[in-house]
């Protein structure tokens, strides 16, 4: 099975072509602010070099979130359209699970993306071929995340924690206070690799391309404020959009 996978979830752009478990090629562009300009040409480059067309791809995979909202939408819109038009399978893979997969040794992997002001899009996974989720993907204040790690460690044997992602070193004091051996991810581990997304995609359940949407893990500030002010419930998003 040929899998084309994409991550535009952070400022690191990654595209990979996998054949079953094997990563045939992965291309990355670091510190890129212009995923919109670079994503399609990068995909095209990979296809050309491997003498393939989009039609030869069996399954598309994408980092579904969390991550930069605008970034996520670029990658997801792109694969959603590919799959919808070419009648191919598409799967969304947790950005945080993909990060966790970069850690090979046995450990509790805390994956986190800096969401400013001591907030993180974060989760806990047990390392492995398919990292197992133990602290759900969510938007955490650092203290809440630390507490979740403590609670997990109180009930499970944790020999080592690896912190992977962005902006976690800032929290070194709090992390040290956990009193569990820990280390930080390497530069390679701290970025999202499309090749790993492709590997996770094999066991993932394909979804209807029309329903492939980012997992933002946060409502917009405007909606939160509106809800607080009016006390009105949130309706499903589809209720707010009407064809006229």
């Amino acid at each position: 099975m040929k899998i084309l996978s994409v991550s535009t979830a952070t400022n690191h752009l990654s595209v990979a072509l996998n054949e079953d478990q094997q990563v045939i090629v992965e291309k990355n562009e670091r510190d890129e602010r212009n995923h919109s300009e670079h994503l399609d040409p990068l995909i095209e480059e990979i296809l050309k070099e491997n003498k393939l067309t989009l039609n030869d791809i069996d399954r598309f995979a994408v980092a579904i979130g969390p991550g930069s909202y605008t970034g996520l939408r670029i990658g997801i819109t792109t694969v959603k359209m590919f799959a919808s038009i070419l009648n191919k399978e598409v799967v969304g893979i947790s950005t945080l699970q993909a990060l966790a997969k970069g850690v090979k040794e046995p450990a509790l992997v805390i994956t986190g993306l800096d969401a400013r002001n001591d907030n993180y899009f974060a989760a806990g996974y047990i390392s492995g071929d398919i990292p197992k989720n133990v602290i759900p993907d969510g938007h955490y204040k650092i203290d809440v995340l630390i507490k979740a790690i403590q609670e997990y460690a109180a009930q499970n044997k944790v020999d080592k924690i690896v912190f992977v992602g962005s902006g976690l070193e800032k929290q070194d004091e709090k992390i040290k206070a956990l009193n569990i051996p820990y280390e930080y991810g390497t530069d390679e581990q701290n970025v999202i690799h499309a090749g790993l997304i492709g590997q996770l995609a094999i066991d993932a359940q394909p979804v209807d391309p029309d329903k492939l949407l980012p997992r933002y893990l946060r409502r917009t500030q405007a909606e939160v404020d509106w809800h607080k002010k009016t006390g009105k419930p949130f309706e499903p998003d589809s209720h707010y959009v009407e064809e006229v």
Binding site: N34, T78, M81, T220, D237, Y240, V241, V244
Partner: protein, 349 residues
């Protein structure tokens, strides 16, 4: 004589709070038009929230692609180009249309065309009637108030624009003061027809000999009038307020546009943008042009009311002209939130 092949364009528009797709034949014929509007969502906030807009766009974009093709009774093999608005607008919103159109172009091998949203608004007229060039357009929308000279179907030049608020923006802001939810233009227009111009609001820059506009003074005068009345517990007639505001807007727009028509002598006069749906403005422009000497009267094209607001049909119409001019985009096409039509030399000083 061989018959010329039909050119079909699938177009995307997602610059603000409407996600829209359309199939347009030969730049003139609407074979399908799907408009998914988010107004109900943004009404919760009293105006468009960009992140909310982007979230809604991605929810519908692949679905309405299929709907546009189905409704037009065609498949990808019948499509000659894929067009998309790439600016101006909200960057996150634009990116959904741009990403979708590029992906569609890659998946199908169909060429891509990037369209300026304002060129699109102006080309809504082409879906109504044939434009003869040179033409002159009054572009009045939520973010733009411009007089544009069209030398030919693809060369447009701004000869006048607003120095502050756009006309539609002014409608929405004074609407808020009157308790009308966004977008307020349509309601204010309806109220205006029930009232009289009793407040004599200022007509800024009307007598200046350029083609520029300013609406912030009018907006302030309006708001001050309402606040003052509030303070002295006087109740003002909302219909007269609306009529007075609208009369001031229309006087300035009509005055300057007619002067531009006299100077540039276009063969066609066009209106475009959401405010081009304004009944008062449409009637006034038609009446003023009818007063010109017969020989100086341009043909008048007022787009269908439902094509004045944002829609993909107008993008498909504009894209057809770009197609004929061989203006294609490649896969590096990006959203350009502050894209602008070129300014005429007279404006560059």
């Amino acid at each position: 004589m061989s018959e010329k092949k039909d050119i079909r364009i699938l177009a995307y528009e997602s610059s603000c709070d409407e996600t829209s797709t359309a199939v347009i034949r030969n730049g003139r014929e609407i074979e399908s038009l799907i408009v998914a509007t988010q107004i109900k969502s943004h009404q919760r906030f009293g105006g468009v929230v960009p992140e909310v807009a982007s979230r809604h766009h991605i929810e519908v974009v692949s679905q309405i692609t299929k709907e546009a093709l189905n409704e037009a009774n065609c498949g990808w093999k019948d499509i000659d180009a894929i067009a998309v608005t790439y600016g101006p607008g909200l960057v996150g919103a634009l990116l959904i249309g741009v990403s979708a159109a590029k992906a569609a172009s890659m998946a199908t091998g169909i060429p891509l065309i990037g369209v300026d949203h304002i060129m699109g608004h102006i080309m809504a007229a082409q879906l109504k009637d044939e434009i003869e060039y040179p033409a002159l357009a009054l572009q009045v929308s939520g973010g733009h108030t411009e007089i544009v000279l069209l030398k030919d179907p693809v060369h447009f030049e701004i000869i006048g624009d607003t120095r502050d608020d756009a006309a539609g923006e002014a409608y929405d802001k004074i609407g808020r003061v009157l308790g009308v939810n966004y977008p307020a233009g349509k309601t204010i227009d309806a109220w205006a027809h029930e009232g009289k111009d009793t407040f004599n609001f200022p007509r800024a820059m009307m007598e200046d000999d350029d083609y520029d506009f300013s609406f912030s003074g009018l907006k302030s005068a309006f708001i001050n009038t309402c606040h003052h009345a509030d303070q002295i517990h006087e109740k003002l007639n909302k219909y007269d307020l609306a009529a007075s505001f609208q009369a001031a807007v229309i006087d300035v727009l009509a005055n300057k546009t007619i002067r531009a028509i006299k100077q540039y002598k276009p063969k066609t006069f066009i209106m475009g943008g959401g405010v081009a749906a304004n009944h008062g403005l449409r009637d006034r422009m038609s009446a003023e042009i009818a007063k010109l000497p017969k020989a100086d009267q341009p043909k008048v094209i007022l787009p269908d009311i439902k094509l004045c607001g944002d829609n993909a049909a107008m993008i498909g119409a504009a894209a057809y002209n770009l197609y004929n001019d061989n203006q294609f985009a490649d896969l590096t096409l990006n959203a350009d939130p502050s894209l602008e039509l070129p300014y005429a030399k007279s404006m560059l000083n």
